[in-house]
């Protein structure tokens, strides 16, 4: 039995190592690297494996010497390889493979509970992109060992934060596996010892775990690096004049109400109203935990079909509103350092002589980042200084997002595919006439009550999309 376990863990670790290797090649710039790699593929698989393994050995020694760093580092990246198993050698993967029938929670059958928990753990791992997470973690551990890491404290801070966060996730999942195995051991022991009280108590404990691990499935949906951030939601009217501006206004209102339902803080940073109704564009700031994690599911074009109240001939119109979402990173996590000299700062909507001539309460500011052409504006604060500060924050998050997208492209191994969605993709259709329905084109999730959706009840759309895309994506991987 132990040899099987060994072989299994060996297999996993070798695949990780080869991934690790391919990952590390990203850091070498030579373009002919690919071809040499191909040639070596057959012969040197093992060789590179051993090289990498010895590399880690030396890293390991260093760790012992420098025990002062974050104690998380001391959890070895390979600890997960020693798969946890019950006293008679049953692992979580075995439980999944056994496919014990999952019965209703009320059935007091430990195998059913264990099977349900094991399935949940597997789903959580899938959602956390387990294999990629491990590769990433090893890469980060490796970087954290570099003696010159703290020469760039901003970079180092980012590395160590991400490392800590991924390590936390790994520990939590490993803890769940251990807990499941412990419960099973206990149940089996109680059964062997003929202790029905202990046995039923242990089965109950397993049932409680079955319930709590369900919630963790949901949490695992929002495990992206920036998911816990606040965010900006930007809504822009498509072509089609007043009807689409009105629609863009409705979409913005939908997000305002959604945010309020979640207890998020909502402020309109920037708003350009339509002449007759609605908005041409607007930027909402949504403050609160996981605002970005949820809202990123809304990126794309939203389509409305209805009889336009602005059409005297009462014809049916189709309009679009585009939605973009950017995370607001903490001060320490910015990816781009803005150089003041690269900025053009303008006051707009200010006619006339200004100064003492004018009494204004409007001090709209627009900032252009000249090298990239990216702009941000704000007019809803009560002083020009604050408008400028808000516009700077929007600009910073846009530049950060652009940089993250660029890095993600370079680093195809660990792409957060959700941020790839360009906002031109049509994601959802809202039909008010001739029938009433809202349907998500990505998941086919639909409801027949558009009013509730437009009043901000979009959580089911968001969750079904997150579930769908995460689970689908990892199946492909």
């Amino acid at each position: 039995m132990s040899s099987i376990i060994f072989r299994r863990s060996y297999r996993t670790s070798s695949s990780i190592l080869s991934r690790y290797q391919s990952f590390s090649t990203l850091f070498q710039s030579s373009s002919d690297l690919q071809s040499t790699n191909k040639q070596q593929n057959h012969v040197s698989g093992l060789e590179s494996l051993s090289k990498n393994a010895s590399g880690f050995g030396s890293v390991l020694n260093k760790r012992l010497n420098f025990s002062c760093g974050s104690c998380l580092i001391n959890t070895l990246p390979f600890s997960s390889q020693a798969a946890v198993a019950t006293s008679d050698g049953l692992t979580v993967d075995d439980i999944v493979a056994n496919q014990w029938a999952i019965l209703d929670e009320s059935e007091s059958d430990w195998k059913s509970h264990a099977s349900a928990v094991a399935q949940s753990i597997r789903l959580i791992k899938k959602r956390l992109q387990w294999t990629q997470l491990k590769v990433r973690l090893e890469m980060l551990s490796f970087q954290m060992e570099k003696p010159d890491l703290w020469d760039d404290p901003v970079h180092a801070g980012r590395i160590s934060r991400e490392h800590g966060s991924l390590m936390g996730k790994m520990k939590e999942v490993n803890g769940l596996e251990q807990e499941l195995i412990d419960h099973i051991d206990m149940i089996k022991l109680a059964h062997e010892e003929n202790d029905p009280d202990l046995e039923s108590e242990s089965v109950k404990a397993l049932l409680r775990m079955r319930q709590s691990v369900k919630e963790k499935e949901l949490e695992a949906l929002l495990a992206g690096e920036h998911d816990s951030c606040s965010c900006y939601i930007e809504v822009q009217a498509g072509a089609g004049g007043t009807e689409s501006m009105d629609w863009a206004g409705m979409v913005m209102q939908m997000y305002k109400m959604w945010a309020q339902r979640h207890g998020y803080g909502v402020t309109v940073v920037d708003e350009m109203r339509g002449e007759i109704a609605g908005i041409k564009r607007a930027t909402l700031k949504v403050d609160g935990e996981y605002a970005y994690g949820y809202a990123k599911a809304e990126v794309g074009a939203h389509r409305l079909v209805r009889i336009s109240p602005f059409d005297s001939a009462k014809r049916r119109h189709t309009s679009f509103a585009a939605v973009a979402v950017t995370p607001i990173l903490g001060d320490a996590s910015h990816h781009v350092q803005i150089n003041e000299a690269d900025l053009r700062i303008e006051r707009y909507r200010s006619g006339g002589a200004g100064g003492q001539h004018a009494n204004v309460t409007d001090s709209a500011v627009r900032i252009t980042h000249i090298p990239t052409g990216i702009t941000a504006s704000c007019q809803n604060e009560r002083s020009q200084h604050q408008n400028k500060a808000s516009a700077m924050a929007v600009l910073q998050s846009r530049l950060d997002q652009q940089e993250m997208a660029r890095q993600a492209q370079m680093n195809a191994q660990y792409t957060q595919s959700l941020t790839d969605n360009s906002w031109g993709n049509q994601i959802r259709s809202y039909v008010l006439h001739p029938y009433r329905m809202v349907k998500d084109l990505r998941t086919n999730y639909e409801v027949s009550d558009p009013d509730s959706v437009l009043e901000g009840e979009i959580d089911d759309f968001i969750l079904s999309f997150l579930t769908d895309s995460m689970d689908k994506e990892n199946d492909e991987a």
């Binding site: 006339g352 003492q356 004018a358 009494n359 009560r382 002083s383 020009q384």
Partner: protein, 366 residues
């Protein structure tokens, strides 16, 4: 003293007051107490947002006010903008939201569309009836929004303002940035004595008081007793009594004995040419103190006076920044300094505001 002289003096002073402070308000004060805007109060009024929330109204009544006020704001359309570049409906709607923010203890209650809680009681910082009057003044009399709520958000400050004191302008915020930039490069100036002439609400003085080092001091000067009181109130509110002192007097008057010892001199003096005063936006022309606006025939009289004073008051290497009406005044001032005060000043610069208007003249005493 003979009676007729006394009578004449009192007529004269009352016409003077009304001319200086609120030139053409035909209306009698709407309410006798907190709302009247006679500018002679010895103590500055507390801004609305700082008053205690001791009044109440039901949510229904508050919503009624909101709807009424919105309708009034919408009725304006673009008529003010067309007549004198005043505010349009969109801006008035935003001001209304801010009025509600300042006067309602929990303003969010209005944005949640919970129809169930209509009989909820909301705490207010002014009586609901007064809110109606204030909004009427805003729309019908074009009373500046900042006087209505008693404050102006300026930079990261919230300054108390009232009739008799110029409302600090967004353009003027940049004066503080200019000073901040200068003291970063010339650290000695950070420890020196700075002067804000014609301080009004105290805006620039307080702003630079916060960018100077621990040893730096500011003297804020204004000729108007109302302005001095308001500036003092604002200085105290930001706990800067030890750093910014407020003095009453005309321009350099309170600074005698300090010739050649001043590290920095900043001012936003009246610079509007007298001929333009009658055509000003109603909020400005009818309500703001003309004393703080009228710069004489070409708008340059006070600027030139400051210029000459700067030559004698600034220490060598001392910095000055003046706000002007625009490009013509900037150029005139620079020419004047170069020709008349030959070699007194160096590094003269014209700096634009964010709207692209050549707004400031800065330089150093040689």
């Amino acid at each position: 003293m003979n009676l007729s002289i006394l009578a004449r003096a009192s007529i004269l002073s009352s016409t003077l007051t009304s001319r200086t402070l609120n030139r053409t308000i035909p209306h009698r004060p709407i309410s006798s107490s907190s709302l009247s805007y006679t500018p002679t109060s010895p103590n500055p009024k507390t801004p609305l947002f700082l008053r205690p929330p001791i009044f109440t109204a039901t949510l229904t009544d508050l919503k009624k006010f909101q709807t009424w006020a919105q309708t009034l704001a919408s009725s304006v359309g673009s008529s003010f903008t067309e007549s004198d570049n005043g505010p349009c409906s969109e801006i008035l709607h935003r001001e209304l939201n801010w009025l509600i923010q300042d006067s309602v203890q929990t303003p969010d209650i209005l944005s949640l569309n919970s129809d169930s809680k209509t009989d909820a009681v909301v705490k207010l910082r002014a009586e609901l009836g007064d809110l109606y009057l204030l909004w009427k003044q805003r729309i019908e009399e074009r009373r500046p929004f900042q006087y209505v709520v008693g404050c102006e958000h300026w930079r990261d400050l919230v300054l108390s303002v009232e009739e008799g004191v110029l409302i600090p302008r967004p353009e003027t915020e940049l004066m503080v940035d200019l000073v901040e930039g200068v003291v970063k490069e010339r650290v000695g100036l950070k420890r020196g004595l700075w002067v804000d002439l014609g301080t009004g609400s105290g805006a620039i003085g307080i702003g630079i008081g916060r960018v100077l080092g621990d040893e730096g001091r500011v003297v804020a000067v204004d000729v108007s007793p109302v302005a001095v009181q308001v500036a003092l109130f604002n200085v105290r509110r930001y706990g800067l009594e030890d750093k910014v002192s407020v003095k009453q007097g005309s321009w350099f008057e309170p600074l005698s004995g300090l010739e050649g010892q001043i590290s920095g001199l900043v001012s936003n003096p009246p610079y509007i040419p007298s001929g333009h005063i009658s055509g000003l936006q109603a909020e400005v022309g009818r309500h703001e103190p003309i004393l703080a606006l009228d710069g004489g025939e070409d708008g340059m009289s006070d600027l030139l006076h400051l210029c000459n004073g700067a030559a004698s008051m600034l220490e060598p290497g001392g910095f000055f920044a003046f706000e002007t009406n625009g490009e013509d005044q900037c150029r005139f001032l620079v020419d004047h300094m170069e020709s008349v005060h030959n070699n007194s000043f160096c590094d003269l610069k014209i700096v634009p505001d964010f709207a692209g208007v050549q707004r400031f003249v800065t330089g150093f005493r040689s």
